[in-house]
């Protein structure tokens, strides 16, 4: 058969992977909407569409579960696409949205807000002993410090012409600096403040409402559009920086803008939901095994897979020891770590 016809068929098959993932996400969303500690189920949902009004169930479905599900989809997408672009740009399989130190910077920002600006407190009677009484201050501080960290890393990397090593090393250094600063302010804080701050760092999707989902979705969409439009440029980076330049790509500009947009999407998500590990690392890895490192397919598919994985983890977090809701970050790490090791071992086999 002619090479071009074979190639077109091969490309066509990859599109099915994307469609299949979308389908899985759709089904999973319905399942998630149906599951939970309260009695609200899909029957109420059907009832709702038929005009039967069960107020409690509607409240749970539309005000609690749906925003949470949407948050999982959006945040999963944001983290996964960021990881995908970072791994490509830094040509480092361990790169993730947090390689630039964003998670540490955001945690520091949240600690500053909770401890120094007194945005957290305790409550004795309810099951959630710790509450954040001024979430906006916390969100804003976390965001500001994330972006601040990004600018520092970029400034440092610029001195070395955005070499991959310079970016990774400055990210690691800055990350540990922020961690040290966090420890320092926690050391001098009250117990309840530390509790609130630690609580914040567990990623949790229950904190967001539609408004926050909308903000996260906007940031993610802007980044996604840029990344997808530059998919061919990213593919040239897979060969090497020199090859990319010889094919007409302005490597430094591409890397600078990519880092900024990755940080923008990640910082927005992290500021609202806290740190959720492993999604941004593992979703692109899984997709790379299925569709290869071609960013034309890797960008859309790993985005959706990130949503699927985070939604799955959150659904497990809500139901596994119901009615207690675990922080989703715990589940993603529990699922992610073994999965990641499994992939690594299989990779060795292949080599």
């Amino acid at each position: 058969m002619q090479a071009d016809i074979m190639y077109k068929r091969y490309v066509g098959r990859k599109k099915y992977v994307f469609i299949a993932l979308l389908l899985i996400l759709f089904i999973l969303s319905f399942v998630a909407l149906n599951l939970g500690a309260s009695r609200a189920t899909l029957i109420n949902l059907i009832g709702f569409f038929r005009g039967i009004d069960d107020q409690d169930a509607n409240l749970i479905l539309w005000r609690i579960r749906l925003p949470r599900i949407l948050a999982a989809i959006v945040a999963g997408a944001a983290l996964s696409i960021s990881g995908c672009i970072m791994q490509n740009n830094l040509k480092n399989p361990l790169a993730s949205p947090f390689t630039l130190g964003i998670s540490n910077a955001a945690a520091f920002g949240a600690n500053v807000a909770i401890i120094l600006l007194d945005a957290g407190s305790t409550q004795s009677s309810t099951k959630d002993a710790v509450i954040i009484n001024n979430p906006y201050i916390v969100n804003i501080c976390a965001f500001v410090f994330s972006i601040f960290a990004t600018f520092i890393v970029i400034k440092l990397a610029k001195l070395k012409f955005f070499s991959k090593e310079a970016i990774v090393l400055s990210g690691v250094a800055l990350g540990s600096l922020f961690t040290a600063a966090t420890t320092l302010i926690q050391y001098f804080a009250q117990d309840y403040q530390v509790a609130a701050a630690v609580f914040w760092t567990f990623g949790d999707l229950g904190r967001v409402s539609y408004k926050e989902v909308l903000i996260m979705a906007t940031a993610t969409l802007i980044s996604y559009v840029y990344f997808y439009l530059h998919r061919w440029d990213y593919n040239t980076l897979e060969a090497s920086d020199d090859v990319a330049k010889s094919l007409g790509v302005d490597v430094e500009k591409l890397r600078l803008r990519s880092l900024l947009l990755v940080s923008f999407a990640t910082a927005t998500a992290v500021s609202f939901i806290g740190v959720i590990g492993f999604i941004g690392l593992i979703a692109p890895h899984i997709m790379r095994r299925i569709v290869g490192s071609d960013l034309r397919f890797l960008i859309p598919t790993s985005t959706i897979l990130g949503s699927v994985l985070l939604l799955l983890s959150d659904t497990i977090a809500r139901t596994i020891i119901s009615p207690i809701v675990l922080p989703v970050g715990v589940i993603t790490s529990f699922l992610g770590a073994p999965l990641f090791l499994y992939l690594l071992i299989k990779e060795e086999d292949r080599g």
């Binding site: 593919n235 020199d242 007409g248």
Partner: protein, 250 residues
């Protein structure tokens, strides 16, 4: 004349790597760049297509000044195959299709795919189209890299040691193919090569570099025992066997 390099200078951390390098190349001509490691050969190639910005001097391609052209326009005129490149999980067809990047706006068109198809056929790589490049042998992979550069439909091809990782059969096959395509399509080739006998077999012109400068340049007559002793610090005999110049280390 298609490529003119005029007193090109480049220094790295205040160390001179290229010192006023000048030469010209005609259409369809194959030029071998010779010299010891660190003589500035790879840097010379990278300065020609502005992967590295030269500190001084000028490169002209058909009277256009390369340093003033946007990178994407340079990519349409000059193809480049580096000494080392990453092997990623990408099919042969995709890897060659990347060479169409300077022409692709949103997505590859049927024309792009046709061009890739023809090149694969020409290099008899067709049967590997959907194989991942990390599963290829060294020779096949080297051919894929050359195919990618050819997909750019360049006027000048810059090759940095294209044969260093190949066996004898593949060395000859790859170089003969490059020479053929240079003749057919009028592409000028600048190739860095270490094997002097391979260079003698392949190239029309020779540029010998020593200590960041051009030691000598010209036809086969520049490959002399004296020149090789000066450039490589190795004693050799240059003999004629069956009317072909052969370099034998003594």
């Amino acid at each position: 004349m298609i490529l003119r390099v005029d007193s090109l200078c480049f220094s790295y951390n205040s160390k001179m790597v290229l010192d006023k390098v000048s030469f010209t190349i005609d259409r369809g001509e194959c030029v071998a760049v010779l010299g010891v490691n660190g003589a500035g050969k790879s840097t010379l190639l990278k300065c020609i297509n502005k992967i590295l910005m030269p500190d001084g001097g000028c490169v002209y391609i058909e009277d256009k000044v390369v340093s003033k052209m946007p990178q994407i326009e340079i990519a349409k005129d000059i193809g480049y195959v580096p000494q080392r490149t990453n092997v990623s999980r990408m099919t042969v067809f995709d890897a060659v299709l990347l060479g169409r990047k300077p022409y692709i706006r949103l997505d590859a068109t049927d024309k792009d795919i046709d061009i890739v198809k023809d090149i694969l056929k020409h290099l008899s790589l067709e049967k590997y189209s959907l194989k991942y490049i990390d599963e290829l042998s060294g020779g096949e992979f080297q051919k894929v890299l050359i195919a990618r550069a050819l997909a750019q439909q360049p006027k000048v091809l810059l090759l940095d040691e294209p044969t260093s990782s190949l066996d004898l059969k593949n060395q000859i096959e790859v170089l003969d193919f490059i020479k053929k395509i240079a003749r057919e399509r009028g592409i000028s080739v600048v190739v860095i090569i270490h094997d002097l006998n391979l260079a003698l077999r392949f190239a029309d012109k020779f540029i010998m570099m020593k200590d960041s400068k051009i030691y000598s340049a010209g036809g086969q007559e520049v490959i002399t025992e004296e020149a090789i002793r000066d450039v490589y610090s190795v004693d050799v005999k240059v003999e004629n066997i069956r009317n072909k110049k052969i370099v034998i280390p003594v």
